[in-house]
Structure formats: C-alpha cells, structure tokens
Symmetry: C2
Subunit: 226 residues, 2 copies
Amino acid sequence: MTLIVALDPPQSVDDALEWSSKLVEEVGTAAAGFKIGLPLLLRAGLPGLKTLADKMPPESLKIADLKLADVGHIMSTTAEAVAAAGYDAVIAHGFVGVEGALDELADTCRSMGLKLIVLVSMSHPAASRIMDPMLDALLEEAVKADAWGVVAPATRPEIVAKARKRLGPSYTILSPGVGAQGAEPGTALCAGADYEIVGRLITRSASPRETAFLLLEKQREAVSRC
Amino acid sequence: MTLIVALDPPQSVDDALEWSSKLVEEVGTAAAGFKIGLPLLLRAGLPGLKTLADKMPPESLKIADLKLADVGHIMSTTAEAVAAAGYDAVIAHGFVGVEGALDELADTCRSMGLKLIVLVSMSHPAASRIMDPMLDALLEEAVKADAWGVVAPATRPEIVAKARKRLGPSYTILSPGVGAQGAEPGTALCAGADYEIVGRLITRSASPRETAFLLLEKQREAVSRC
C-alpha cells in the first residue's frame, strides 16, 4: 500500500465535511491513508475532523498536516487536539529545529502514540532555492527529533533519494507532488519513498476509487522498471 | 499604542471562546491589537474566531497567527477564510519563500485588504541555531513579498535591531517574548520594534486590563531611557 490521499476541499464545494467524508468512503482501503490540512480544519472544525477520522478505515494512516512550525508548547497543544480527534500522525516543519520546538512535540507524540513526520523539503519553486541548500541540516533535525518519517517532494526525486540515503531504511518517507503538481506515479517510490501523496488527481476525479486503483497500478508498473 | 495581546487559551480552561472573549472585553482599547493562533482555532472553530473578532475594538489590529508555512494556494485559502472571519492580518513564515508561496499569499492579501506579516525569527533555542544564520535571506523574502511587517523576537533584541536596519522605517516590526518568555517590556521597542506581543503575563493576570496599562507604563519608561 503506497498511496495516501490528500483531502483539500475546493472552494466551490459548499459542505467540506460532506465532500471529504464521501471521498473517504469511496476510496476506502484503496488508500493506505488520508491526509487533512488547514483548509479542511477551517471549514469543518475539529469536531468535523473527528467525524471524518471515524469514517476512515481503522488500519489507515490518518495524517493531520497542519505544517506545524511554532514553539514547542503550541505544537504540542495542537498535536494533543488532533490525537484526541482520532489522527495518528502530525506533520511539522524541520526548520523550527529541535531545542524548544520539535523536542517538546516529539515528547507529546510519544505520550499520545502519535507518529511525528518532519517536513524537510517542499514542492514549490522557492523551496528549491531556500530549503534545498539546508536539506542535510533539516534531515539532522528529523533524526534528532526521532521522527517516524519525513516529507520530501515527488517533483524533485533527487531530494527523496538524498533523504533515503541519509536516513536509511528505518524511516518512512512520504512524497506529495504526484498528479496535479506534475510528478508521475512511482517517481518518488523509485527514488526511495514509501508513500506517494495524491490530492486533486483523485479528489477531483469522477471515479476516485477507480482513479486510486489506476494510480496503484501505475506505481507498480513504474516500480517494476526502476 | 505599542501592545498586542496574544490569546492562547490554557488547557485548564473549559470554554476557550468564553475565556478569550472575556479577555478581549476586559483589555479592550488598552491593547493596540489581539493575536489568535492555532490552539484557539482548534478549540473555538472559525465561527468562534469570528465571534471573537466582532468583540475586538474596531480600530484594533486583529492578527491571525497560524504560522502559515505551505504552498501558495493553501496559504491563500486560509487567508481568505480568516479575512472573512474579521481578521485583518496574517502571519506566514519567511522561509517558505516567495515563488509559489508568499507571492500568491501576498496577492490574496492585497485583494482581501489583509496585512501580510512575515516571520523572520523565533524565540526558542533552536531558532537561533537554524534561523538566525538565515536572517538576511528571510528579510529579503519579506521585502520581495511586499510584506506589511515582520515578526522578530524580543528575547533577542539584536535580531530586531538588524531587521529594523535592513527594512527601514516603512515596515512594521512585531516582537513576541515579553513577559513569560523573559524579555522586559520595552526591550524590543528600544531595538526598533513597533509592537510588543504579550501573552500569559496579561492573559493569566488577575487584572488583565491593569496589567496591560502597567506594561504600557513600563514600555514608556524603558523607551524614555533607550
């Protein structure tokens, strides 16, 4: 299982919770997990996020991607709230660093049974200019924070490969950027990622479940040729 | 008016919206503005944030400090939502950079009449190790994004001074860290800040309004001696 679905509701949708609930129910176990973000939190509220988590298959990875980037106690408070709502992983930015930030969040994650995922790179143009020169340092922060995994973009597979080389096999690598952002299915898997995160290509498809299976098939084909 | 109150509800409070509404009503015009963050959003929801904004004095600066650090369209969606809820400024991280991130957010801010505030430094220990060496670069991103202002910590006034030197007089500098985090009132103002952001010292005071006036008095004393 190598596919995670990002649930970012389009502005045109009236009821973001209904929209995301339908997607979760349709995609179901075709995805290894689901990822929600700030746009859905703003529109569905924390109670809505809980309702949604309850609809996700029990074995699926439920990721709260609020791109946490604050001091330790603020990130910890947030992590506790999303854990209570049924999510089992949080994403925080590596550049806030360990002391007074990721260390406190990591403690909270351990005590709440949450997986800590550290973002070490992003897919937009400015990230390659500002964050890529810091990649080694950001990976060190992820290691020091004893993260479960890291996020690195499928649009720049060389970054995924560098992350895998530095981290070894025991860390999970999650890669957004497949589909609407331009990366082909399987690109990040071939570079060393465990999961590819796909949003619009699935969520705006007329048949999200079929599209998910098609993507899994394309991933398998790509991986067989890596 | 040189004081902004940060409204981060303690875990011990049952009703975070009631707690923050009371504080806003009590402090009132003693503060130049109020700043809310992710902990309050999680507990009060966007409708709660709107209720709260409606209680803030009309002339006060209403800052949504969600530490935005995502690609452009996600930050823009968030900015639109908080603008619709009555806030007039958003804080985003400078390290996500301009192209594909702060540029899109800046466009949205302009079209919504929102002030864009770029965070260029933070108060926790890891920030001095990771972010401070990048200060000049982060200030450049703030300038390129045509930000209204930047955030720099009162706990490290030399950073505030460097920001003011680079930015000149036309940018607004906001400094958290006064009070519970250790900086004395007036420290950041003397270093070049326009506002000091105070949280717990006021919000956990038995007399928040009196404490706010006492802080303003201490700021004036400090500034008279800079």
